[in-house]
Amino acid sequence: MKIGVIGYSTTEFGELWDRSPRDLSREVFLNSLKGARLEAAKIEALYVGNMLAGILGNQANLASFYAEELGIAVPSVRVEAACASGSVALHNAVQSVKAGLYKTVMVLGIEKMTDHTQDEVIAGLMAAGSDEERASGITFAGLYALIAQTYMKKYGISEEDLAEIPVKNHFHGSLNPKAQFRNLITVEQVMKSARISDPLKLLDCSPISDGASAVIISSDSKLLAKSKGVTIVASQLGTDSVGLCGREDLTTLKSAVSASKKAYAEASIKAHEVAVAEVHDCFSIAEAIALEDLSFSKKGMGVLDVKNGKVTLGSSGVIINPSGGLKACGHPVGATGIKQVIEIAMQLEGVAGKRQVKNATIGLTHNVGGSGAVAGVHILRI
């Protein structure tokens, strides 16, 4: 069965204080329908990816909340998988279409974070960790800092080396009109930015963001025929321990390795055939580990491959995070997994403007929840 991405839309990511979650959802709903030249009545089900609405906004019953707002009284499901909520929602939508329940489904990823103070958001995000982690007063930056310490010691990587990752992502973000940060930064600026959780500094960390992203997927042959031809050829999840203490090796995320292996098999491709990928760079170290877990880089080479320009726009290899990634494009957690899929769809359709990767026909998304408890990998083709 062919499942196409027939429409999509994302808001700008950032501190969108003048817009409510309702406003954001309506914008991407209407624009994705418009892009697909589709009537709302064609949407048979709604999947919503969101993490924090209940924790920070005190709004549960979220699937019905958005179905009502969007005026579509169709079966609606809210999916929560921390920062992987978007890709896990998409995975569920794909399964429902594969099962023949529906032909045309909308997936909405959405998060409103900047209504709340920084320490409230940091505390809210810790709901994605374990009991023991919460009782230690650690943060997500802290968890990834523990991973970074281990990785850097094992492979002899310096903080300056690591700083090359956000520098590259800000360069890509500078070419993306929807990105939260479009300014170029230097290694020196990263090194001088405030220390958050050693060795990670402010400019190693993705920001707190608002945003919404929506895709419409369909197996309807008539709709596929009039679409631009992007299809989802793999949708896979991987699972690991919630807490870091359950891991034997802190320099890899088993969930991402498992999801990507299954995804490459489902798509019948090898990693080197991927031209462009959006990976979950919530903190600098996460992009390096993603490159290795997805078999784009050899073990211990993730940071150095970024530093040597191998994954920057213009390089002949796989281009990583042309959107600017979570670091520069922003990270409204429930929206991120859907935004990644939209970026890849735009790249494959050749409509990515200044950040266009040349002749891309296969793209991949890698979306992680918690410190690696869940990973969703999707592969798209045109």
Partner: protein
Amino acid sequence: MSVKITPVKIWRRKESISNLIGKKGVVESVTIVRAAPSGFGQYAPYPVAIVKLVNGKRIMGQMTDYHADEVTTGQKVVAVLRRLRTEEKKDVISYVIKFRPL
């Protein structure tokens, strides 16, 4: 809203927590949390470590009663019982495992 640490959850784990007291281990990885979640801000910066106990089990916890040069990988530590933080007057006091350098 601060990080929810329900005392009853800690109480239900009382035996497993008690069993950890006095256990020795080595710091495998450690960071200093400088931007803390709500409820912990007054204690920042503070070190949090992953400790591998002699029996092979890994535990995460804050380091306590340390000198700056002991906040490092390979440091030998012992698990001790410590008050987690200062609660609101009406709240039950939470005690957790922290790690003291040896």
